[in-house]
């Protein structure tokens, strides 16, 4: 297998420099699906996580434990559940979105929502521990405190979003089952890699893998730069 990595690197470079239209389609869809899922998961997950960090009610600890358990949800399980929900024979079948990108967004959102919520909860709970008293003294209720602490921790929340995005774009189990890996319609990077591997075209599969890694790496670097910019920028602008 010595030639394996060399061949794959070659395949990867050929892919990247060739600007293959189908590759662009696959990469574009990966980004679109995972970005949408993260946006949705962030919207609901950050609100839920912050609320959970601040609110207190009977059963609170059980809920937090349940949330932390959902962190380990395997993607195939999510895929299966969403498939059964969206199947024509299932409760939401009339939506007709199975085997389309929308179903993939639904599945990935469900997958990363617990991640976002749990990480946000941890973050906000830590902020609340030190500063909750001042907020309460100023008259902030649960919702106001949650909102203010989210604003306060917005930079750290960027890394939460990034973690979620990484999880979403590299998962294959959920999108394979609910998307069907249809050529030109629901094929994303990870399902393409799975397909090429099962066809025995390992160099191409690894090549696609490198492309995926490069993509995730580029996004990470971009966000890190933005954070640094924001850090100095906000100093200057008083934000």
């Amino acid at each position: 297998m010595g030639g394996g990595f060399g061949e794959s690197l070659h395949a990867a470079i050929a892919l990247l420099t060739g600007f293959d239209a189908r590759l662009a389609e696959v990469v574009g869809l990966s980004l679109a699906v995972s970005a949408s899922s993260c946006a949705l998961a962030a919207g609901f997950g950050m609100a839920a996580g912050a609320w959970l960090a601040v609110a207190r009610f009977p059963g609170h600890r059980a809920l937090v434990a349940a949330l932390n358990t959902l962190l380990g949800l395997p993607s195939v399980v999510v895929g299966l559940v969403v498939y059964l929900l969206l199947s024509r024979s299932g409760p939401l079948g009339s939506l007709g979105i199975l085997f389309t990108p929308k179903a993939m967004v639904v599945a990935q959102t469900m997958l990363v929502l617990p991640v976002v919520a749990a990480l946000t909860r941890q973050l906000i709970a830590d902020a609340w521990r030190g500063n909750g008293e001042q907020l309460r003294s100023m008259g902030a209720g649960v919702l106001a405190s949650a909102a203010l602490l989210l604003l306060h921790e917005r930079l750290a929340l960027v890394t939460v979003g990034l973690t979620a995005f990484g999880r979403a774009i590299s998962e294959v189990g959920a999108v394979m089952i609910v998307g069907g890996n249809i050529d030109g319609v629901t094929r994303v990077m990870t399902t393409a890699i799975a397909l090429e591997t099962s066809k025995g075209d390992l160099p191409l599969a690894l090549g696609l893998g490198f492309v995926l890694l490069a993509l995730v790496g580029a996004i990470n670097v971009t966000i890190a730069l933005i954070q640094r910019q924001q850090g100095t920028h906000s100093e200057a602008m008083g934000r």
């Binding site: 008293e133 001042q134 003294s137 100023m138 902030a140 604003l151 921790e153 930079l155 008083g238």
Partner: protein, 241 residues
């Protein structure tokens, strides 16, 4: 006898197995400036938080309410202020929003408060890059802007250098004096007996979660006190006069 703003009757506060306060009776009237003194762990911060209504407790706590059943506005300044990662200006606006001040009044009040504490030129800077003294002045501005009837301060100058200490003390004194007419009551916990002597009209000494001495300032520093209190005063005073 003017009506009490806040009254505590036979109150106790427990944190798990630890009893932080017990058997505390306390009356706070408008215009009073109370200093809570005592060693660390004596319960002064707990009493402060209890008066402010932040703690679960045994016994009764009664607060004067207005015709609409509302509690008087209160504000608290902590040893280290919690400021949001926003500009000085926005921190003030958030406080005014939380206090329910109508939108069209907020900007005016915020500007007034900033000017009052001498931070008007800092208004667009991130609150967290201010110096310790400036941050505490901002915290005071934040409290002042909501026009409280009771102002609580928990060792407000303990973390400041001497110059900032003086500035902040000066502001507190001025606020207390200006608020006298409206019946503003001030309750401040402090280690610093000199500060208590300078600012307070009444001094309360706590030990082991109990109120040991509760006297007007002049009497507190002239009368013979119970042993423990006397020792405390002697121990603290030379360093902090």
């Amino acid at each position: 006898m003017t009506a009490a703003l806040i009254e505590l009757h036979d109150t106790a506060v427990r944190f798990g197995a630890l009893t932080a306060l017990s058997g505390v009776d306390f009356v706070l009237r408008p215009g009073e400036r109370v200093a809570l003194v005592g060693a660390n762990g004596s319960g002064k911060t707990t009493l402060l938080r209890l008066l402010h209504g932040q703690l679960a407790h045994d016994g009764t706590r009664r607060v004067q309410r207005d015709a609409l059943g509302r509690e008087p506005p209160q504000a608290m300044v902590f040893q280290r202020p919690f400021l949001l990662r926003l500009s000085v200006w926005r921190n003030l606006m958030v406080a005014l929003w939380l206090a329910g001040v109508p939108r069209d009044e907020r900007a005016a009040r915020a500007a007034q408060a900033l000017a009052r504490v001498g931070l008007a030129d800092q208004r667009d800077r991130p609150a967290r890059v201010l110096s310790g003294g400036q941050q505490q002045r901002l915290a005071l501005a934040r409290a002042w802007a909501v026009r409280p009837r009771v102002l609580f301060l928990d060792e407000p100058t303990a973390s400041l250098d001497p110059g900032a200490k003086r500035e902040v003390e000066q502001l507190i004194t001025e606020f207390a004096q200006e608020g006298q007419q409206q019946g503003l009551a001030v309750v401040m916990s402090t280690h610093n007996l000199g500060q208590a002597k300078r600012l307070a009209t009444r001094v309360v000494y706590l030990e082991g979660g109990r109120v040991i001495v509760d006297l007007p300032t002049s009497e507190f520093f002239n009368q013979s006190l119970p042993d423990a209190a006397a020792q405390f005063v002697r121990g603290e005073l030379p360093w902090n006069a």
